[in-house]
């Protein structure tokens, strides 16, 4: 899933530590929400929501309907500004590759969204269904179930999900650190090559011409 470049949502800035918008950004988002709220009910119905998401992202119709059902917890056919704000934060965290950080910071909200049946337990099916939004990787899930999960039915309650988010966040940070080290090493190697090249050229130029 990608946020459309140049769209209003694309310009919003998500804080990288708390995965939230600043007050100024929220104010702008509220103004945007009010423009879309043509019926003046402080909500967006499914049609408006569908057209908003299809404009701002590259999600398919089926995925948009799934997202709407996920956020419409009360099944009233409308979503309010709080849900809209949460959705925008999720979109931006996905855009900025901060999904694990987002899930770690807001695990309660994410759990509530993934628990579509209201059973207070979520399984692989839930994770798989909304992978396009939260980017939950299968390998990581398998690793987690092998290392931490104790119950037989392979479904997580909230506390286990919270531990999973800590685990996933740590893994992604580790990967990020490794990537940065690798980048540093590559940069150092390329700089070294450059310097060696320059030394070789200067030595070549200083060497006297062979006389006949």
């Amino acid at each position: 899933m990608k946020v459309k470049e140049g769209s209003f949502v694309w310009y919003l800035y998500l804080d990288k530590i708390y995965c939230l918008l600043s007050v100024r950004n929220v104010k702008a988002l509220l103004e945007y929400f009010r423009l879309l709220d043509v019926h003046h009910k402080n909500t967006l119905n499914d049609v408006l929501f569908y057209h908003f998401l299809s404009y701002v992202t590259n999600l398919k119709s089926r995925q948009i309907r799934m997202v709407f059902d996920m956020f419409d917890c009360n099944a009233v056919g409308e979503i309010g500004f709080e849900e809209f704000y949460l959705l925008v934060c999720i979109l931006l965290s996905h855009q900025n590759h901060l999904e694990e950080q987002f899930m770690y910071c807001h695990s309660r909200h994410v759990f509530r969204l993934l628990d579509i049946n209201g059973e207070q337990r979520i399984g692989k099916v839930n994770f798989h269904l909304y992978r396009f939004l939260f980017n939950i990787r299968n390998e990581r899930l398998k690793e987690f179930f092998q290392d931490f999960h104790s119950s037989e039915d392979r479904r997580l309650n909230y506390n286990e999900f919270k531990i999973y988010t800590i685990f996933a966040n740590e893994k992604s940070k580790e990967k990020q650190r490794e990537r940065m080290k690798e980048d540093k090493r590559n940069r150092f190697r390329s700089q070294l090559k450059k310097v060696m090249c320059q030394i070789a050229v200067s030595r070549f130029l200083r060497r006297p011409f062979p006389q006949k």
């Binding site: 509220l30 423009l35 043509v38 402080n42 057209h51 908003f52 949460l86 934060c89 807001h106 909200h109």
Partner: protein, 189 residues
């Protein structure tokens, strides 16, 4: 890291309007008597210097923001006004207590200094208003995008619930309003 509650407010009334929550110190300020020869603008800005002490027997009555006397101040919200007010609770140079009894010569000098003060206060008001508003390019982007989204939504409404449905008509009105605003903007540019 703790979870942050998603308490984004959708309360329209809380943004940009006068509200009692913006830090009036328990409704009491340095209330002073207004000058009858000063302009209405002056009284608008000095609303917080209310007539608390002027009114006998009120004795520290809290100032209501929805007071009828301050009805002209709907344009200015309290946040903007409080920004003008210095922390000490007194506006510099506008110490109007007992001015009625001062001689006319002092009143002239006083009104001159007041006018310069109020000019700068007016400018500060303008700046504060501008800072609260969204920048124009951002507003333009928002409206353009909203117009595109709502135009597509209008097509869906027409195809699904028909042209004569009240929701379709509401949406059509919003779309027309946005189009009108865009046209005005283009003409002004």
């Amino acid at each position: 890291m703790e979870e942050e509650p998603f308490n984004a407010s959708s309360d329209h009334g809380s943004l940009g309007q006068a509200s009692g929550h913006y830090g009036l110190p328990s409704g009491r300020t340095q209330a002073t008597a207004p000058q009858p020869h000063l302009s209405m603008r002056l009284s608008e800005v000095s609303w917080s210097l209310d007539q608390q002490q002027k009114l006998p027997g009120d004795g520290g009555k809290p100032i209501s923001l929805r007071n009828e006397d301050s009805s002209k101040l709907e344009d200015l919200d309290q946040y903007t006004l409080l920004e003008l007010k210095p922390p000490g609770g007194r506006t510099p140079g506008i110490h109007l207590e007992g001015v009625d009894s001062e001689p006319e010569i002092q009143n002239e000098h006083f009104s001159e200094s007041l006018s310069s003060t109020w000019e700068s206060a007016g400018f500060r008001l303008y700046l504060a208003e501008q800072q609260k508003k969204l920048p124009l390019p951002l507003k333009e982007l928002m409206e353009t995008e909203a117009l595109e989204i709502l135009t597509k939504a209008l097509k869906s409404y027409r195809s699904k619930i028909g042209e004569n449905h009240y929701l379709t008509k509401e949406l059509q009105r919003s779309v027309e309003e946005l189009q009108r605003r865009r046209r005005l903007l283009w003409r002004s540019q």
